[in-house]
Each structure stands twice: as C-alpha cells, then as structure tokens.
C-alpha cells in the first residue's frame, strides 16, 4: 500500500484532517508532514489575539500521522468502513510552541502491534529540526463489529 492510498483511506476530513503528506512508511514506522493553515478555526480562540497551536491539536497530528496512517498500512486491505479506530492512551511532553503557518514533521516508531492495539513512540519536529513534542501514543484498530464493542468498553 503506497502513501497516496493510505491518505485516501484516512477517516478524516477538513476541518479535522491533520495529514498532508507521508514521506516514508514501512512496517516499523512512518514519517509524515502537516502545515498549520493560519485560518484554522482554533487559532481565533487559542489564545485571544495570540495564536498558538493547542497541545491537543499537536497530539491529534501525532496520532493521525504516527498511529492511524501506520495502522492503515499495517492492517493493509483489511481496513474498511467496519474498522473501528480509537485512541486509547497518550503520554506526551510539549517542548516548544508551534505557530500558524509552521510545517511539522511527525516521526513514529512502532513499539508493538498486537491484538489490535498499536503503540508507538512519536516525535514531532519543526522546520528547524527542533523537537517540539515527544511521547507515546496507543490506539485500537479492529475490523469485526463485535470485537469493536469489546475494545471500546
């Protein structure tokens, strides 16, 4: 499965799609980029007259590139409308602010993918190559509807 196919399978759309491009992907990890458009709605309120990308959004970017893109690649053809995905845990440190119009690169390394749970070590870098956040993110990807309910209990 190539990068284009993975992007087309992502279950997100604007204003909540946070992946522009995947530059590298294999069974052990993924690297991708996203540029924060200055017109994104949350900048109007975070913060008042002082737009800075919220940590929850940085987390979402890391999860979409680092976990969901890699997960789609790993389950390959099995990924479809019946596949349930859910974020199950995050442990992230935020090191530097990210401003509107910045382009970030997410580098994710698989820790394990077992029993439908994907856990990754994820890092986000800015254009200067500085680490802006790092941490561990995990989620569940399951295709059977019955299993999904168990997974989300």
């Amino acid at each position: 499965m190539n990068s284009k196919e993975i992007l087309s399978q992502l279950p997100y759309t604007k204003p909540f799609l946070f992946v522009d491009d995947i530059s590298r992907i294999d069974e052990n990890g993924v690297e991708g980029t996203y540029t924060f458009d200055e017109n994104l709605d949350f900048y109007k309120g975070h913060f008042k007259d002082n737009p800075i990308t919220p940590g929850v959004i940085l987390t979402e970017v890391m999860a979409q590139i680092g976990l969901v893109c890699l997960g789609i690649f790993l389950v390959n053809d099995v990924f479809n409308k019946n596949t349930s995905i859910a974020l199950t845990s995050t442990d992230i440190e935020f090191l530097k602010p990210v401003y509107p119009n910045e382009k970030v690169t997410v580098i994710s390394e698989k820790v394990y993918f077992r029993f439908g749970k994907l856990k990754c070590k994820v890092q986000m870098k800015n254009q200067k190559g500085e680490s802006v956040c790092t941490g561990t993110i995990a989620g569940i990807l399951r295709s059977s509807a019955k299993e999904d309910r168990t997974a989300l209990e």
């Binding site: 199950t88 845990s89 077992r114 029993f115 439908g116 749970k117 995990a138 209990e153």
Partner: protein, 84 residues
C-alpha cells in the same frame, strides 16, 4: 509452576493497570481482569505482553480471548510453559 507464587507475580504485573484497589487487594483465582479489577481492554493487551515477557511464552489471539480472569491466565501460562 507454584500457583501461589504465580498469582503473586500476576499481581505485580497487573498492578499498574488496575482501577479497583479493593478488588486488587482481595485478588483470588476468580478475580476478573476487566469486571473486577477494571483494567480497560486496551491495557489488558499490555498485561498480556508483560505476561509473555515474564514467562518467555507466546500468547496467541485464541488464548488472549480466553484470558478474562486470574484462573484462565494461570491455565494459559501453565499450558504454554509445559509446551516449551
């Protein structure tokens, strides 16, 4: 395999993931990981991976689905250790 010893080892493995301290303190063979200890199903995967590492065994999907309580975990560990 010494059962009491293994139960104590299992207790150490599940400790970081439990949400019900009382059920944990009173853990028996019949204690259910999800319903009693309130371990969420995503963390149950970590429990199983920790069990694999501790006993150097491999737990497959079928065994994973059966591993709902302490007794089932003991049986699976015992079976896997015996087939090594």
């Amino acid at each position: 395999m010494n059962k009491e010893e293994t139960i104590q080892e299992l207790k150490a493995i599940v400790k970081p993931y439990i949400q019900n301290e009382e059920a944990f303190e009173n853990l028996t063979e019949d204690t259910d990981f999800i319903n009693d200890l309130k371990i969420n199903s995503a963390n149950l995967v970590d429990v199983i991976l920790d069990i694999e590492e501790k006993y150097d065994i491999v737990i497959d999907n079928e065994a994973m689905e059966k591993m709902s309580n302490v007794k089932a975990a003991l049986t699976i560990i015992e079976t896997q250790l015996a087939s090594k």
